[in-house]
């Protein structure tokens, strides 16, 4: 048996003498003569085969040698002649590649556009490389995601928040806390996009914003009016509060910046961060969009569906979803006066709607105590769950955990769309009935606003563990934030670009039939497909009976032609007679035999 070392020694200099050369054995290769002692016959056969192989090798030695030289010289080449056992770059797992796949299948041109073909192949290569590099980089991400795992026969939903807080490190444990605010509740809440700041709005006028991780209060005011909803704007320096009558914007010191009288009776708000749009739904049935970068109302749409109390946004395409009391969910963009889509989701009113961050799934809960999962790309129901108490609030985390509030119990579900769920992943009872739910971005924390204040609970596996420093960076400095703000404002997407399919901008705009038709009309000077103009019939009294009309038509139809027909018939008859006469004459003439007839053969 040749060890790898021996093989190398043999291979070193004897090639020239015509000795048989074996490739160096490898430890991962199965050694052919391992079982030689056990069954000799087979061994012999193997030997013969080996000899044959060797002969073949000898023949192809030259070719192989050439081949070896051509091998790419990546990795370190050892002096002894060994080559890298793992040549080439490390393969990237397929699922990671899939994650970074873009849906840009460029159609190949059938015609001979050589330049275009080259451009297409080059850009396809570039995107392939980008995909591969991104997937490779993904392996190196510092943090991993994980979920709470119970012991055998232990439900994770029975584990209490105190137990989790005790088990984890102090910093994480400190993220479980209660704020007892029983005076002005119940509370609505909102986390800023980086997840560092929390905004609380009590129904009875209490508005507070705080850096919740360090528990530092930034400002606390009482607006002396009922508060319907609160929302952070693009930074943690401004927030919008929907009050009893108007919409107000405050800064983080609690100073009122704007009172927007165009937006009245606002009940719910959503902020579209990349468009700098604040979408508001009001009690009067209006959906309004405010561009917060320039302070202009972009669109005001009368939905004609009554009080709008259920609202959420699709983070994938910035379409606003509204839930209505008749059980429908409607999808809206600021560019269209009526709904993009209307879906009947529930029997009875819709209580809450949530859309996941990839824009694939929509979760709704209704008065019929059902919670349903829809595919919002195909508008199809996927799953339906029955919750005995019915969910009043829904919220989806970055990694797809669903929290549903039923009365004063907050339940968190895992994988609601992929597998049928029977038990919640976690559950927690708060002091009062739940009024607002929100997962904190980039943290395993769920904020619950309720009648007795605010509870921050730990939900392992909720937040995205790896943030992107250039997009929403929880640890950004003031300088970085300023820079980000300028860049974000420069990259503000125009509201006209909000569509159901966000990649629609990249698709080829083919000329429609109307456009082609318009071009044709312009060229011809008239519309060839136009309907004939309606010309009313001129009717006379008493002359419009069907029979009379028919008779009149007959008369008229042939009256003017009769003379002509008669004449032509006469003419034709005369002509025929003349022709006959002529023929008779001819016949008479031809019947007389000429003198020369007799010579005929």
């Amino acid at each position: 048996m040749a060890s790898p070392g021996e093989a190398d020694v043999n291979a070193s200099h004897v090639e020239g003498k015509g000795k048989k050369k074996q490739p160096p054995a490898r430890y991962w290769q199965e050694l052919p003569d391992k079982e030689k002692g056990e069954n000799k016959d087979e061994g012999q056969v193997e030997q013969q085969q080996e000899e044959k192989k060797k002969k073949e090798q000898q023949q192809t030695q030259k070719a192989k040698k050439r081949k070896r030289d051509e091998r790419p010289r990546d990795g370190k080449r050892v002096i002894s002649g060994k080559s890298d056992p793992f040549p080439g770059p490390v393969p990237v797992p397929q699922d990671r590649m899939q994650k970074f796949k873009r849906n840009d299948n460029i159609r190949k041109t059938h015609r001979k556009h050589y330049k275009l073909k080259e451009i297409i192949t080059r850009s396809a290569d570039a995107s392939d490389m980008a995909q591969k590099q991104a997937a490779r980089f993904d392996i190196l991400l510092p943090e991993d995601a994980g979920f709470l795992e119970g012991d055998e026969d232990e439900d994770t939903c029975t584990i209490s928040q105190e137990d989790i807080a005790d088990a984890v490190d102090i910093t994480s444990g400190a993220k479980y806390f209660n704020l007892k605010l029983c005076q002005f509740g119940p509370y609505r809440l909102d986390y800023s996009r980086t997840g560092r700041h929390l905004l609380l709005g009590g129904r009875r006028g209490h508005v507070a914003c705080l850096d919740w991780q360090s528990k530092q209060l930034m400002c606390e005011i009482n607006v002396m009016e009922s508060v319907n909803d609160v929302k952070w704007l693009h930074t943690e320096h401004m927030y919008a509060v929907a009050q009893k009558k108007w919409l107000y914007i405050y800064d983080s010191n609690g100073i009122e910046l704007h009172c927007i009288r165009k937006f009245n009776d606002v009940l719910r708000m959503q902020f579209l961060p990349y468009h700098f749009l604040l979408a508001t739904a009001s009690a009067t049935g209006f959906l309004q969009y405010l561009d917060v970068s320039v302070g202009k109302e972009v669109a005001a749409i009368c939905t004609k569906t009554g009080r709008l109390d259920v609202m959420c946004q699709n983070p994938h395409n910035a379409v606003v979803h509204l839930g209505h009391t008749n059980g429908t969910v409607t999808l809206w963009s600021p560019n269209q006066k009526d709904a993009l889509v209307k879906m009947l989701c529930h029997q009875g009113g819709v209580r809450s709607v949530a859309v996941d961050k990839t824009g694939t799934y929509m979760i709704t809960s209704g008065m019929d105590k059902k919670m349903k999962v829809f595919d919002v790309r195909a508008f199809k129901p996927l799953r339906s769950y029955f919750l005995p108490a019915g969910a009043s609030c829904l919220s989806l985390s970055q990694r797809g955990l669903l929290s549903a509030a039923t009365g004063d119990v907050v339940q968190v579900y895992r994988d609601v769309w992929s597998t049928p769920v029977t038990k919640p992943y976690m559950a927690h009872r708060v002091r009062g009935s739940v009024w607002g739910l929100h997962f904190c971005p980039f943290e395993d924390v769920l904020g619950v606003g309720h009648g007795e204040g605010f509870t921050s609970m730990l939900v392992p596996g909720a937040g995205e563990p790896n943030f992107d420093g250039l997009d929403a960076n929880p640890y950004r400095s003031a300088k970085q934030r300023q820079e980000w703000e300028v860049k974000a404002l420069l990259e503000k997407i125009q509201p006209e670009l909000i569509t159901l399919d966000p990649t629609e901008l990249g698709q080829i705009d083919q000329t429609t039939f109307e456009q082609k038709h318009q071009v044709r009309v312009d060229a011809l000077g008239f519309d060839p497909l136009a309907k004939e103009k309606f010309v009313p019939k001129f009717k006379k009294k008493g002359r419009s009976s069907a029979g009379g009309v028919e008779r009149r038509k007959k008369q008229v139809a042939h009256e003017d032609q009769r003379d002509v027909i008669r004449k032509t018939v006469e003419d034709r008859r005369k002509m025929e007679e003349e022709r006959k006469k002529m023929e008779e004459k001819k016949g008479a003439l031809s019947s007389k035999k000429s003198a020369l007839e007799r010579f005929r053969k």
């Binding site: 994650k99 510092p142 990349y274 992107d468 997009d471 970085q480 966000p502």
Partner: protein, 425 residues
């Protein structure tokens, strides 16, 4: 600097396409904002600038000759004149720097060819040409061989001169009485092209005794310039407002007709990359054309610039120099929005990124409209519209004639074929 962790997960970066589009739109707008191509004007000549010459070795040196026979040498970094010499009586018709950069040749209306030292004479010494050749007729064009001590002049015939001799080593003529310019091919160094006053472009091989080929066009060609990268191609500036790029092998029709000027094109020069060329016109504008585009990508004009007579593209591909009637030489950027000076790596990265974005979204109507927009002087704008109307009318008439005549008797002649009368071998 703080470390910035990245996560390229597409779901963390929604609206990829719309954001890229917005970035591209901004980049296009910024490009137009920063498009300030005019750098400086070099004044000092007492008469119109008639010819320019690039130094073959030094980027910062420029030579210019004016209509009163004065030649000036300029330092472009300091933007000042370093030397002035009265080279000729009457016009300086042509000027060329020897390939080694040690001396230069000038020709003038006084029928002389003079060779000058590139070094200025010492203090108190007089400007003296190294060599003077007295010719029989007036010379109108001059060019030097790339590697040998041989140069070519044109006038009543095309002459090839050896630097050491006072008579031409070879003379070419093909039944024409005058030539306006002659150019050596920079790649196939033995080839020459010249423009004659009988509307023809004649090609020569220096090693042969007779001219190679000639193509006769409908209007006279003023100058031609060879592509420095592709030996077969040359572009010629024509009196009929157009430029034509020819493949030397197939002169039957030009490869491309470049239209946009509204008056006769007087001079043309290729960029050292061979991808673009710049043209100077009687309509007081300078235009830059990609070599395979029918229309210009850029137009330069100022209120004060008069008929542009000569143009040069600098050897570092960054600047354009134009000499015009009103005694000024102007220095332009070749890329109007380019930032001059050293770029920091991040700056360079940002520029490259925005360039790529502009390229990706160039066909989007909004972006295309902004990128294409150029302000034109009123008269040029109106003239352009007028030309468009005339062309349309001509086309309409032709179609009408075709419609009312026997099928096939009025053939369709493409724009490329229209301007070539015949090719003579």
């Amino acid at each position: 600097m703080l470390k910035i962790p990245r996560n390229y997960d597409p779901s963390l970066h929604p609206f990829e396409l719309s954001r890229e589009y917005t970035r591209a739109l901004n980049a296009t707008k910024l490009e137009r904002v920063f498009a300030k191509p005019f750098l400086s004007s070099l004044d000092g000549h007492r008469d119109g600038v008639n010819c320019l010459a690039k130094h073959t070795r030094s980027l910062s040196t420029l030579l210019s000759g004016s209509c009163d026979g004065v030649v000036k040498v300029w330092n472009l970094t300091k933007r000042e004149c370093v030397r002035t010499l009265q080279a000729h009586e009457g016009f300086v018709r042509g000027m060329v720097v020897r390939y080694c950069g040690s001396s230069f040749f000038t020709i003038g209306d006084d029928k002389t060819i003079k060779q000058w030292n590139m070094e200025a004479p010492g203090y108190g010494e007089e400007e003296e040409p190294l060599n003077t050749i007295l010719g029989k007729t007036v010379f109108t064009g001059l060019d030097h061989h790339q590697k040998k001590g041989v140069f070519a002049t044109c006038g009543q015939q095309v002459d090839i001169w050896d630097e050491q001799r006072s008579t031409p080593i070879r003379s070419f003529s093909w039944g024409v009485d005058s030539f306006s310019s002659v150019r050596f091919n920079p790649v196939e160094t033995e080839l020459l092209g010249s423009c004659a006053s009988d509307r023809s472009i004649v090609l020569y091989d220096m090693r042969e005794s007779t001219p190679l080929k000639k193509v006769i066009m409908t209007m006279r060609t003023n100058t031609l310039c060879w592509n420095p990268m592709e030996a077969y191609f040359f572009t010629c500036a024509n009196e009929d407002y157009n430029l034509y790029t020819y493949d030397m092998r197939y002169l039957e029709k030009p490869c491309k007709v470049h239209m946009d000027h509204v008056s006769a094109v007087l001079d043309v020069d290729y960029s050292p990359t061979g991808l673009e060329f710049v043209s100077a016109s009687f309509d007081k504008t300078v235009r830059i054309f990609p070599k395979d585009a029918g229309h210009s990508r850029e137009v330069y004009h100022t209120k004060r610039m008069q008929h542009v007579i000569c143009i040069k593209w600098s050897a570092d591909n960054k600047y354009i120099l134009s000499g015009s009637d009103e005694m000024n030489i102007r220095l332009w950027k070749a890329n109007a929005a380019e930032k001059l000076g050293v770029l920091a790596p991040r700056e360079r990265e940002a520029v490259n990124y925005s360039q790529k974005l502009k390229e990706k979204f160039q066909h989007y109507p909004q972006i295309k409209r902004i990128a294409r927009h150029r302000h034109l002087p009123k008269n040029i704008y109106h003239q352009r519209n007028e030309l468009r109307v005339m062309k349309e009318a001509r086309r309409r008439k032709e179609t009408n004639v075709r419609k009312h005549s026997k099928p096939g008797s009025v053939p369709v002649v493409s724009e490329k074929e229209k301007h070539v009368v015949s090719v003579v071998d």
